[in-house]
Amino acid sequence: MLALFGRDAALRNIYRLANLARGSDPLDTLPAIRQAYLDFLDSRQRGVASNRHDDFFSIDYAAEAQLSAAFRSGELDDCNQSDIIGGKYNSETERAKRAIARAALAGLFALDADFALVFSLAIHSIFLRQSKRGAGRPGSYGGSSSASIGAIWLTVDARISPLDLQEMFVHELTHHLLFIDELNQPQFDYFAIAKPENFAHSAILRRNRPLDKVVHSIVVATELLLARQRYLPRGQKTVIHPPSAALVRATMEAIASVDALPARASLMTPHLLAIVDTCRVACRQLQDCPDASLETCA
């Protein structure tokens, strides 16, 4: 959403939520908007408190338990993702992982000022927990839940690089900006997208999944491709996400599977269809790029 629609669009969406919780003070500074946005989240997200500390990682055990619990209630639970968050790491491991994640995030902030600004407004918590693996479900490197907007779960797996983590931050911020967008303008007919005949093919896990997951995967993949093109370090392999040429192909296939849904115009609002179309245009431009890495095309 940030690369596709820009910093100001994201800021306006956050402001619109903040405005619902504003007190008597004007919302004319970024800290004031952030404060009111967190007030809004606290007033609406049952049992999940936002982190008011100046550090994304400064979360106590009780708050972390609340955030983890927010991943446990979802009926469109096609990959058993509601039982994916595992136990805590021991304190030494957690500190080491937190330091790695903090350094990766600081590096990312230095690469793109707009990312730093929007992330700092939209995200309040980053918590570390193990991932459970189970039948029919791969392990995860982290995730986000619409029941705890502003909070990101990470595993900081030992196999991944700082670049992988930076891509995870781009990935997760995109989910949150889509959640925030949905609080401003409806996106889906949720009862209809629960039906398997309305599933489509996702861009990253490459599975048949409920449409909300598929559209999120399309937008996440497009944002990742654009972030790689614009500011992420180049020439390094990644573990979590595929190379750009493969990712853009998979994203176009996911878009085609959405296009093929006979009921697509009633499953998604015109607003969301326009977002998917914007992804389509961006991916077509990337597909037309003569550079196989896709990372040097304007």
Partner: protein, 74 residues
């Protein structure tokens, strides 16, 4: 409710946070931008849409809540 009140940070950790370029306060202060010009284009109709969308999304006791809870891994 805030979560920072009971957190015990070591002195070293506190120093890291204070010096970090990823400190939330530092990032927001660095952007000395004209917020009013950006949010000034938000209209009363936009705000009405937001109010309506929020009420649907967070409808108390509605079955929609758990249907709509999106756990994103893809």
């Amino acid at each position: 409710m805030t979560s920072s009140n009971t957190l015990k940070l070591s002195t070293d950790e506190q120093k890291v946070i204070e010096s970090s370029v990823a400190s939330i306060r530092k990032v927001l202060r660095q952007h000395n931008m004209d917020v009013k010009s950006i949010v000034g284009s938000v209209t009363a109709a936009d705000m009405a849409n937001t109010q309506s969308a929020v009420e649907v999304r967070f409808a108390e006791g509605a079955a929609m809540h758990s249907v709509m809870n999106m756990i994103a891994m893809d």
